[in-house]
């Protein structure tokens, strides 16, 4: 088992243990036997016909798991859903990634997949919002859109001959700034309808990338992007000048309250990730609420005590949902 | 359960490192008492009726091992911590305790207290290692007490007052050794007790009642740390002390650091070191280096030279010049470094055979008497012991162990171990000989006997059907051995082939068919190494059924053999050789005399005699060719006794006669050995067991050359061939002269030794005496273990069997070879001692006058060699005690001793007439005295 890298005192240990046991008992019994490890054979009924999916192989007429995970059966398909593994992209997934290379007509983006993803310049809405052929000039100005190490948000477009392609054909995608990037195991983020969340009472944006990259940042109004673009153009022209206008300072300034909210949310996610709880906006919000309700300082959220509280809270929460 | 042991250790490089070792504690360690209801009793060793279970502490085991070995001590639990400590302190005691524990007749059980979950104790801070171990012992004793509560009493035996007090406080019954032994009410056991050091003073008084004479006799041993640093800085030299067998006041320490031997004169310089001790020696200033002392016949004290057998080789002979390495630097004699012992690094104390020195009246009252013990081995100083049975022991041969030697006493102190028997009694003295030479005479254990095939044994049909075994029963095979030989391990055949060549076969008993590697039988044989032949008795290497029946190639029965078969031309050129396992049926077991008689009797024309004659002529050619190559025909003065069948007393004594038949058999055996050596070395260049005979160095031949020069003989010793030739040409006017020279030459040679071919380079494989570049022993597997090994090697080289694993273990093989050399040598020494013993018995009733030859000249007499009886001994010209009173004058150059007035002179090799008589200067100490007629 993965021991938490926390220094717990004796009572905390007992409490955590109890909470985890409760979680275990709450987990659906049906699935408890479905866990397999590498080289475990998976019982199957051959008469129904069989389709071997991911994480399985056949040895001496037996279906055998090749990864650790949970056996899932969908009609004839039998596959092993692996847990701790790299992200496996599916078309339409919303992901957060980091630009690692600017290449001709494309950016290479690290998204916790076994290969780097490709974002073509052509799959990208230009800042001016106009749909047109990309000119050589656009190509030269690629760095003005995304540079190396920029964090971006995009959508999985699909597999092409040269790898995984992304697209960012909407105003909600693009470069992310003024926030934190968190990386959690991708199995903790579930695919849902909504991955963009605007937490209004905190004034922050939360993007739960399917690849386990989570963005927590200051809320940005998507609508006035024309203005932003205009400003940024202005910014570019002014970049040569040494001084930054007060207006820009105003623009780059994030209020302390927001910054604290960002950190609090980020730490809530960190705590959940350490405990290995699945990460949804509801749980995050509850955890954030919990932390503010008991007045836990932001930095203490990474401590043992808060962790135990979160575990206990999660146990209560799940038992509630179960009852319902 | 897991415990981590961690301790700090100093590495060889002098760095301090922390060592962490795992230490597992177990639930499955049982108490070893068959009455126990909780434990698994399948491995129980204690007796079911044991009322008291003894637990000894380390010091008791270390010091009282002789007592513990006594069968009166039973039901002992040996704790593993005690064993471990004993092992670190004294390996020989450890081995003895281990032997006790594995002896099925004794009730000793090893309890692994260090790995038992309840008896393991963790180190406490500030506690010394000893205290911790003592505590561990007490904890184990307590565990036993509660574990066996009711069924047996547990008694902790310790001599440590503190330990005893603590034990009693903790509710463990504890006693000292002495009080325990007293409670057994067996007074003879008390003699076995080692006296604690505190009583030393009392003993001192007993030996010498005048306190004024109590003085420090020996200088103090340096502390170990000083010795180590001294060795490091090259001030001291480390080496094994070897006391001169013929002069106990002279010892040698072979030191690697100065590449020479350091001579140590006198007991004071030897500083309480025993023969075989590893000592640290400090060199004396050069001006104190002794010149070679004028060699007197008698020593400073009243120890004297005895009559003894003629030494068989340089190893046995008194050494005047140290055998040097092949470097061959001839140092002038007076420049040899001498030194003194400053510390003893490792003691070589064990128990010694001997008798008590006669005393005017028993000293000491109250039954306890102090006596001096004189070892049979003259290299060992007298040992003080105390005994309660002095009267009883005076005329006995006893065994005594050494306990300590402090600076104040001239002699070491020890304790009585056991009695062998009455002095002078043949059986007693024979046993002494066997013990002295470390010869195992115990009957074979049941495990060993279990390895034997069921009796009666016959060649089975499987043996015949075995494809590796050739059926040679149709051949006319015969054996030629000494009369009465029962362990016949070689047989021969010789068939004339149609092409005029001969097929000659040497068939050796197939011992390895019965002695398999790794079995208890094999281990035992490997330990014994060789059979030992005494005058009236034979101590077998293999159990009797194998020795005398199953392996012995007796006449008219089918036997398994390992054969070497050559095709030879009539000129004895070997055309081809093959080796095979076989089945033979010997048609005749001849004695040498019979064989000789058959060959000599020209009327006999039967096929067997023809074979004999053919073989003999081949052998003669081979022999001639061997001598041509430079093989030495050395002579030894073997004697033969005629033994009374009833009393086993010797009736007659004479030189062993060597006949042509002997030489014939010998020749073929040599050829077989050489053939096999070549074969196995070809297949196993690294792990073959061979036999080599190093070339003697010039220094070793010095005595021979000096003697030869004195009588005007010029010997060429540049090579074995040259030596052989000059020996051949050394024909004097009397018929015995040549043999005498050969005997002297033999004496200068070292013995041939076994070695593992991987340890030396091929040029060193040389067998000097046989002038063979390769040699091994193959032909007597019944009585020599080396041959067993060779058989296995040969079988493996033929692909018949796999080579046992042991051959891959180089160091192990070397240690086997060393053991064989040791056993072989001891067996020879024992044989010689047995002959000497019988010589004394023989002359007891027969004072004899006979002819003798002078072999060495000394300042007050000379040594003579008596050819008829093969003995050598001193003849004194001046009465004992008066040292070379000037009446006699020794001419070193000419090897002559002259009376001052010139009236009489004796020179070396001169014939003299002597009188031989047994005298008893002291009661029960008979010795053979030679005097001029």
């Amino acid at each position: 088992m993965k021991d938490l890298q926390l220094s717990l005192n004796q009572t905390q240990k007992v409490r955590l243990q109890r909470a985890l046991e409760k979680l275990e008992s709450l987990a659906s019994k049906a699935n408890s036997n479905a866990s397999v490890t590498v080289a475990d054979s998976i019982p199957v009924n051959y008469e129904d016909g069989l389709l071997k999916g991911h994480g399985t192989s056949e040895v001496n007429g037996e279906v055998v798991a090749t990864v650790c995970g949970v056996v899932e059966r969908v009609n004839k398909l039998v596959y092993v859903r692996s847990l701790r593994a790299r992200y496996k992209p599916e078309v339409g997934d919303i992901i957060v990634g980091r630009v690692i290379e600017v290449a001709p007509k494309r950016w290479r983006v690290e998204i916790n997949y076994s290969h780097d993803a490709v974002l073509m310049l052509s799959s990208m809405n230009l800042p001016d919002g106009i749909q047109r052929r990309r000119t050589a000039l656009d190509e030269l100005n690629m760095r003005s859109i995304f540079e190396e190490n920029d964090v971006i948000c995009a959508e999985v477009r699909g597999f092409q001959h040269d790898g995984l392609h992304l697209q960012a054909r909407s105003q909600k995608y693009g470069k992310l700034g003024r926030g934190q990037l968190l990386t959690v195991p991708s199995y903790l983020v579930k695919r849902r309808k909504q991955h963009f969340h605007h937490l209004e009472n905190y004034g922050i944006d939360l993007i739960l990338g399917c690849n386990g990259f989570i963005w927590v940042g200051e809320h940005v109004e998507v609508t006035d992007d024309m203005l932003v673009d205009h400003k940024s153009e202005q910014h570019d022209t002014k970049a040569d000048k040494s001084s930054i206008s007060p207006e820009d300072q105003e623009k780059n300034y994030t209020p302390q309250q927001t910054r604290e909210n960002i950190c609090r949310t980020a730490n809530a996610i960190r705590a959940l990730s350490t405990l290995g709880f699945s990460i949804t906006v509801e749980v995050i919000m509850e955890t954030v609420d919990l932390s503010s309700s008991i007045n836990v300082a932001i930095h203490e959220m990474l401590g043992a005590e808060f962790c135990v509280l979160v575990a206990e809270k999660e146990a209560v929460r799940r038992s509630m949902t179960k009852k319902k | 359960m897991l415990q981590n042991k961690s301790f700090v250790k100093r590495t060889r490089g002098g760095k301090i490192t922390k060592v962490v070792r795992e230490h597992y504690l177990r639930h499955d360690i049982y108490c070893g008492a068959p009455v126990c209801k909780v434990c698994d009793t399948s491995g129980a060793r204690l007796s079911p009726t044991a009322s008291t279970i003894l637990i000894f502490d380390t010091n008791v085991v270390l010091h009282q091992i002789d007592l513990i070995e006594n069968p009166a001590i039973e039901d002992v639990v040996v704790l593993s911590i005690v064993l471990e400590e004993v092992k670190n302190r004294n390996l020989s005691v450890y081995n003895r305790v281990r032997a006790l524990c594995s002896n099925s007749l004794r009730k000793f059980f090893v309890f692994s207290n260090e790995h038992h979950k309840d008896t393991y104790v963790t180190d406490m801070s500030g506690e010394s290692k000893n205290d911790r171990n003592d505590r561990a012992i007490r904890v184990a004793a307590q565990w036993y007490q509660t574990h066996l509560a009711g069924s047996a009493k547990v008694l902790l035996i310790t001599n440590d007052k503190e330990n005893k007090r603590k034990a009693i406080e903790e509710g463990i019954s504890a006693e000292t050794v002495e009080s325990y032994v007293r409670s057994l009410s067996k007074p003879e056991l008390l003699d076995l007790l080692v006296q604690p050091a505190s009583e030393d003073v009392k003993m001192e008084d007993a030996e010498d009642l005048r306190p004024s004479k109590r003085k420090v006799i020996y200088s103090e041993h340096k502390p170990m740390s000083e010795i180590t640093s001294g060795l490091h800085r090259g001030i001291y030299h480390q080496g094994k002390l070897r006391v001169n067998r013929y002069n106990p006041f002279e010892a040698y320490v072979g030191s690697e650091s100065i590449g020479d031997e350091i001579i140590i004169y006198g007991r004071t310089n030897m500083n309480r070191a025993f023969d075989g001790d590893i000592v640290a020696v400090e060199l004396l200033p050069q001006d104190q280096w002794h010149e070679e002392k004028s060699l007197a016949l008698a020593d400073e004290e009243d120890e004297e030279e005895d009559v003894h057998l003629v030494p068989g080789s340089a190893d046995d002979a008194p050494r005047t010049i140290a055998a040097q390495g092949s470097a061959g630097i001839t140092e002038p004699v007076q420049n040899r470094p001498s030194g003194r012992v400053v510390g003893i690094i490792k003691r070589n104390w064990h128990s010694y055979c001997g008798s008590l020195e006669p005393m005017a009246k028993p000293a000491g009252g109250g039954g306890i008497a102090h006596a001096l013990f004189v070892s049979k081995d003259r290299r060992i100083p007298k040992i003080r012991i105390q005994t309660r049975q002095l009267e009883n022991l005076m005329d006995k041969r006893i065994i005594v162990a050494v306990d300590s030697w402090d600076r104040l006493s001239r002699y070491p102190s020890g304790h009585y171990v056991r009695t062998i028997g009455v002095i002078g009694d043949k059986d007693t003295e024979t046993e002494v000989v066997l013990i002295e030479n470390d010869i195992n005479t115990r009957p074979f254990s049941s495990q060993v006997l279990a390895c034997l095939p069921p009796l009666p044994w016959f060649v089975s049909s499987e043996d015949l059907a075995n494809p590796i075994r050739q059926d040679l029963r149709q051949l006319r095979v015969f054996s030629v051995d000494p009369p009465g030989c029962k362990d016949i391990d070689d047989a021969l055949h010789c068939t004339a082939l149609p092409n005029g060549n001969y097929e000659v076969g040497v068939h050796i008993a197939d011992v390895t068919n019965f002695v398999h590697s790794g079995t208890p039988l094999d281990d035992e044989a490997s330990q014994r190494g060789t059979s030992v032949y005494l005058v009236e008795r034979r101590i077998d290497m293999l159990p009797k059924p194998l020795t005398e029946d199953i392996c012995s190639l007796r006449a008219d029965v089918e036997r398994l053999a390992f054969s070497v078969i050559w095709e030879m031309t009539a000129e004895a050129e070997i055309i081809s050789a093959r080796y095979t396992k076989s089945v033979i049926k010997s048609c005749a077991a001849l004695s040498y005399i019979e064989a000789q008689a058959r060959m000599d009797d020209s009327r006999l024309m039967d096929p067997l005699t023809t074979d004999l004659r053919n073989m003999n002529s081949l052998a003669k050619i081979m022999r001639a060719r061997r001598i041509e190559r430079g093989a030495l025909t050395l002579a030894s003065a073997e004697v033969k006794f005629e033994i009374d069948t009833e009393t086993h007393d010797p009736l007659d004594m004479g030189m062993y006669q060597i006949r042509e038949a002997n030489q014939m058999v010998e020749e073929f055996m040599l050829a077989a050995n050489v053939s096999v050596a070549e074969k196995i070395l070809k297949h196993f260049p690294l792990c073959s067991l061979l036999r080599r005979h190093p070339s003697p160095t010039r220094e070793m031949l010095e005595p021979l050359l000096r003697t030869a020069a004195a009588i005007g003989l010029n010997l060429d010793v540049s090579s074995s061939k040259a030596l052989a030739d000059s020996l051949d040409s050394a024909v004097g006017d009397d018929p015995y002269f040549n043999k005498l020279i050969r005997i002297l030459a033999t004496r200068c040679m070292t013995q041939a030794v076994y070695f593992c071919s991987g340890d030396l380079s091929p040029p060193e494989y040389l067998h000097y005496g046989l002038a063979a570049s390769l040699y091994t022993h193959f032909t007597s597997p019944i009585r020599r273990y080396a041959d067993v090994i060779t058989h296995r090697l040969l079988a493996a080289s033929l692909g018949i069997y796999k080579l046992p694993t042991i051959f891959q273990d180089g160091p192990r093989l070397t240690s086997i070879a060393d053991n064989l050399n040791y056993r072989h040598r001891n067996a020879q020494m024992a044989s010689r001692a047995s002959v000497e013993l019988h010589t004394v018995i023989f002359f007891k009733k027969r004072p004899t006058d006979t002819e003798a030859r002078i072999v060495r000249i000394r300042s007050n007499g000379f040594f003579v060699f008596v050819p008829k009886y093969g003995i050598e001994g001193p003849v004194y010209l001046t009465p004992r005690g008066e040292k070379g009173s000037g009446e006699w004058y020794v001419d070193e150059q000419q090897q002559k001793i002259r009376k001052m007035d010139g009236s009489i002179s004796y020179s070396v090799l001169q014939t003299v007439f002597i009188h031989m008589e047994i005298v008893e200067p002291q009661p029960n100490r008979p010795k053979l005295q030679l005097s001029l007629v």
């Binding site: 987990a27 790299r86 699945s278 999660e314 | 891959q808």
Partner: protein, 241 residues
């Protein structure tokens, strides 16, 4: 030297057929895709797996399978005497190669073309049997990283001292100079992926020793399986539905 007492106990109190205590722990390096610590007695090894990921050196990229790389290091503090060894000495290179080849045999590399998998193993404490511990740790780490494998690879050593086959030699026994067989097997497929021996052994004894090592590997496999299964269950129930 006596490595097995007549009572049948080894120097550390084990019997000849017994292994040291083993312990495995998953998920010890946060950044890595998979990681594990494996202990065999006082031998402690940490392993981290990165990948499958983009091949760093394009020239090494293989279009039909993944590139597996392995780096073995020994911490300076892992032995009693603190020796500063140069990186990439012969021994490390050799063990790196051994581990790489052993693991490559079980990873289904063809499923991850044009990627690279890095395995880093470091010996934290050395007390004999480091090779085996490294392989076991690597197996755990690879499983943790969710890399598809044909089978687990487990390893155990066995030796031959005092004419007795001994399982799982510790440092003292290892340096006794006897034969030392390191075996790696795929327990489910019943195949050997690693077999190393220094010194010589006759064939019949070797078979015994190897049989013992196989038993040891199977015992390790059972334990590793337990650890993995427990870990998987934990992850699954903690994640919730």
């Amino acid at each position: 030297m006596e490595y097995v007492s007549p009572e049948g106990l080894r120097l550390d109190g084990r019997r000849p057929m017994e292994m040291r205590q083993i312990r495995g722990e998953i998920g010890v390096v946060d950044k890595a895709d998979g990681s594990a610590v494996f202990e065999m007695g006082n031998t402690k090894v940490i392993a981290a797996v990165y990948g499958p990921r983009e091949v760093q050196n394009r020239s090494q990229q293989m279009n039909d399978r993944a590139l597996v790389r392995c780096e073995y290091t020994m911490a300076n503090f892992s032995t009693g005497d603190r020796m500063r060894k140069p990186k990439g000495d012969r021994r490390s290179t050799e063990i790196s190669l051994v581990i790489r080849q052993t693991m490559e045999a079980c990873i289904m590399t063809h499923l991850m073309p044009r990627t690279q998998i890095d395995i880093f193993v470091q010996v934290l404490q050395a007390d004999g049997g480091t090779r085996s511990a490294c392989i076991n740790a690597a197996t755990l780490a690879l499983s943790d990283a969710g890399i598809p494998m044909r089978d687990l690879v487990t390893s155990c050593s066995a030796g031959y001292l005092n004419s007795t086959p001994l399982l799982d030699l510790n440092y003292v026994e290892d340096s006794a100079g006897g034969a030392d067989v390191t075996l790696g097997i795929m327990p489910k497929l019943d195949k050997v992926t690693l077999l190393q021996m220094d010194a010589k052994l006759p064939l019949d004894i070797f078979e015994n020793v190897m049989q013992l090592a196989i038993e040891g590997c199977k015992a390790v496999a059972t334990y590793i399986r337990e650890v993995l299964l427990e870990n998987t269950k934990q992850l699954e129930y903690r994640r919730g539905t």
